[in-house]
């Protein structure tokens, strides 16, 4: 008797094994299905579209940090743009430094356009979509990224 030449099993053993096998297969499937419960079906979360005020409040060449919204709004000669201040490494809030942005948690550094210049961050800070509400206020949608260099002209 070897692994290549297994003993014959009789019908009763075969049926017992088959029923046991199907029982545990069903149990396993049910258990795996139960694991779907902790995976949220709806992702609750605050709306991440922020009204930041009327465009006149921001003079050309200015930059305004919105700490609670985790973004920085810039205005230059070409228009408005907003850069997220959530580090792309592990999600800490970056703060303004001499040469751009610096992360207090693991030392990622970005230039003032959000590009990585040092540290572990895998991606540049995302630029966020800027638009205007019906009443003329500037609106930043923090869930929508736009390519670097995109400006919003008033």
């Amino acid at each position: 008797m070897s692994r290549l030449d297994p003993p014959r099993i009789n019908r009763r053993s075969f049926l017992s094994l088959a029923s046991l096998g199907s029982f545990f297969a069903a149990l396993g499937t049910a258990a795996a299905g139960m694991l779907r419960l902790p995976n949220p079906a709806v992702l609750p979360g605050p709306v991440r579209r922020f009204k930041l005020g009327s465009p006149e409040q921001f003079s050309p060449g200015s930059e305004t940090a919105f700490a609670e919204q985790n973004l920085v709004l810039f205005r230059d000669d070409e228009g408005f743009y907003a850069i997220s201040s959530t580090c792309t490494h592990l999600g800490c809030a970056v703060s303004r430094s001499k040469d751009g942005f610096a992360c207090p948690c693991h030392g990622s550094r970005f230039d003032s356009k959000g590009s990585v210049i040092g540290g572990p961050a895998p991606r540049p800070l995302p630029w966020l979509e800027v638009s205007r509400a019906a009443n003329g206020d500037l609106v930043v949608n923090a869930d929508n990224e736009v390519p670097e260099g995109t400006r919003y002209r008033v």
Binding site: G45, A67, L90, C92, P104, C105, H106
Partner: protein
């Protein structure tokens, strides 16, 4: 008839204290003979996990330093104090911080209980790590104890998970940013899937993060998940595995120790019992019935003593030392509570508790490599040790294999030099991103100070394997390297990392801001 029943009743009433005592404590007195001592052991639910007799070697304090028991003792303390804290703690983002403040400032003895909970948890992490090192350096993981090594590894992971989920609950600055960082480490496989552009189809990172947070931001769903893990799921898992761990110690024949030599004289234990050769014409079986006077025949002296009282005194003293240490620490040093969680501004620097600072340093090179890949490699590597190093040699002796001590010291100095050198290089010259700002992320995931350390240590271990021709010595060199690197990285991140994770010689040089 009625009169006798009344008398019987009064008699029973009179005897009540004795009968209740006899029902609770069957022996009713301190055991005097070895027979009574063994009955005291195996007729008691809490003592019967011990064997009746225990080998004198395993009682020597310098074999184990009582580390495993100390870990158990601190776990028991955290359970008791944890249940007390649950009376006042409220797992809600609005109330959690205030309830911890209440516990600290208002609840009677609340501050002391919370301090004890925190200090015994810290002690547990430290002691579990030392216990693992002890088991490794005494080669106690070898056959038949491989399975128990795996169980112990599971216990280590659960211990770390317990302390991680624990420091999230106060919902202070440390808690909030630790959850943020922790869940983003769970999310960090995205660093890899993003780099090769398959996140859209295959996103294990996002799945893990959703499972932890129950949402796509850190809030109430996350807090309640971590609370359930901390007070129910993880303790239950730990108690279950702990039961298996203890059970296996018994089933594997007690603590690992070298074989007793044939013949000779018992080395310790009060009674020295010489071994004699049996005469072929005599039957010796009956002599085994004589109380405590069994002569060893055809085998070495047993070198065992009764668990009651020897082992139980030892265990009790370890327990008392643990309690005393925890109480003293809790009396003088309060458990920290930072400011209320503020999603706008993290602390600067935002540091994890000490046992995660080594990982935080690695994470500051690459989130995926330092936060997931290297920890997984370490755990898998540790799990493989007893299956790759299978030669029965040196069990139960500190550095018991030939030339193990020199290899330990060589690896110690090698790993110290390499780790310090790597840190010094990184601090002075930066890393790939500083030299080539547009380099592909895959390069940084693959080549960073953390992964290089792992590769260098692996190469060193292979070198030892070739040169010394011993799997055990290769394992010793690798384990020592990782232990040294863990210690140095922890120290480095604790002392020399300041605001924005910059290098400073001392915290007193941190800039004011």
């Amino acid at each position: 008839m009625a009169e006798t029943a009344t008398r019987e009743f009064l008699h029973n009433l009179h005897e009540l204290p004795h009968t209740v005592k006899d029902a609770c404590f069957r022996l009713g007195k301190a055991p005097e003979s070895e027979r009574e001592e063994s009955q005291a052991t195996f007729h008691n639910l809490f003592l019967h996990i011990h064997s009746v007799r225990v080998h004198v070697r395993t009682l020597k304090p310098t074999l184990t330093f009582g580390l495993g028991l100390m870990a158990t003792a601190s776990f028991v303390i955290t359970i008791i104090t944890g249940v007390l804290l649950m009376v006042y703690y409220k797992p809600s983002t609005d109330l959690a911080y205030q309830s911890i403040k209440d516990i600290h400032f208002t609840v009677s003895t609340g501050r002391f209980i919370r301090n004890i909970h925190r200090w015994s948890a810290q002690l547990m992490v430290l002691v579990v790590l030392l216990h693992m090192a002890r088991v490794f350096f005494t080669a106690s993981y070898k056959k038949p104890r491989e399975f128990n090594w795996l169980v112990g590894l599971g216990l280590l992971v659960i211990t770390l998970a317990l302390s991680f989920t624990g420091y999230l609950l106060p919902w202070d600055q440390l808690a909030y940013w630790a959850i943020t960082i922790g869940s983003n480490i769970a999310n960090s496989p995205r660093e890899l899937t993003d780099a090769i552009g398959i996140t859209k189809f295959f996103d294990p990172g996002g799945f893990q993060k959703r499972l932890l947070l129950g949402a796509n931001y850190v809030g109430q769903d996350a807090l309640i998940r971590f609370y359930v893990l901390h007070v129910f799921v993880l303790p239950l898992a730990l108690v279950t595995l702990l039961g298996v761990h203890f059970w296996r110690i018994r089933k594997d024949g007690g603590l690992a120790r070298p074989e007793d030599p044939m013949g000779g004289i018992a080395e310790w234990g009060g009674e020295r019992r010489p071994v004699f050769q049996p005469l072929a014409t005599k039957t010796y079986g009956l002599m085994a019935l004589v109380k405590g006077k069994r002569p060893p025949v055809n085998r070495g002296p047993e070198n065992t003593v009764m668990s009651w009282p020897h082992l139980f005194w030892a265990e009790l003293s370890v327990f008392m030392v643990t309690v005393a240490a925890t109480l003293i620490l809790s009396f003088y040093w309060d458990a920290p509570l930072k400011e209320l969680a503020n999603p706008a501004i993290p602390e600067n620097p935002a540091k994890a508790p000490w046992y995660f600072l080594g990982i935080q340093e690695l994470v500051s090179y690459s989130a995926f490599t330092g936060g997931l890949l290297i920890p997984v490699i370490v755990v898998v590597g540790l799990a493989l040790i007893p299956f790759l190093d299978r030669r029965a040699e040196g069990e139960g002796i500190w550095f018991g294999t030939k030339s193990e001590r020199p290899i330990f010291w060589q690896s110690f100095f090698f790993a110290s030099a390499v780790t310090v050198g790597m840190l010094a290089f990184t601090v002075n010259y930066g890393w790939l991103r500083n030299w080539f700002p547009n380099i592909h992320q895959l390069w940084i995931i693959a080549i960073n100070p953390g992964s290089l350390l792992v590769l260098i240590f692996a190469a060193w271990s292979l070198f030892v394997l070739k040169r010394k021709d011993s799997v055990r010595l290769a394992a010793v060199s690798l384990f020592t390297c990782f232990l040294v690197a863990f210690t140095i990285l922890t120290y480095f991140a604790t002392v020399h990392r300041g605001p924005n994770w910059h290098f400073y010689w001392w915290p007193s040089q941190w800039p004011l801001h």
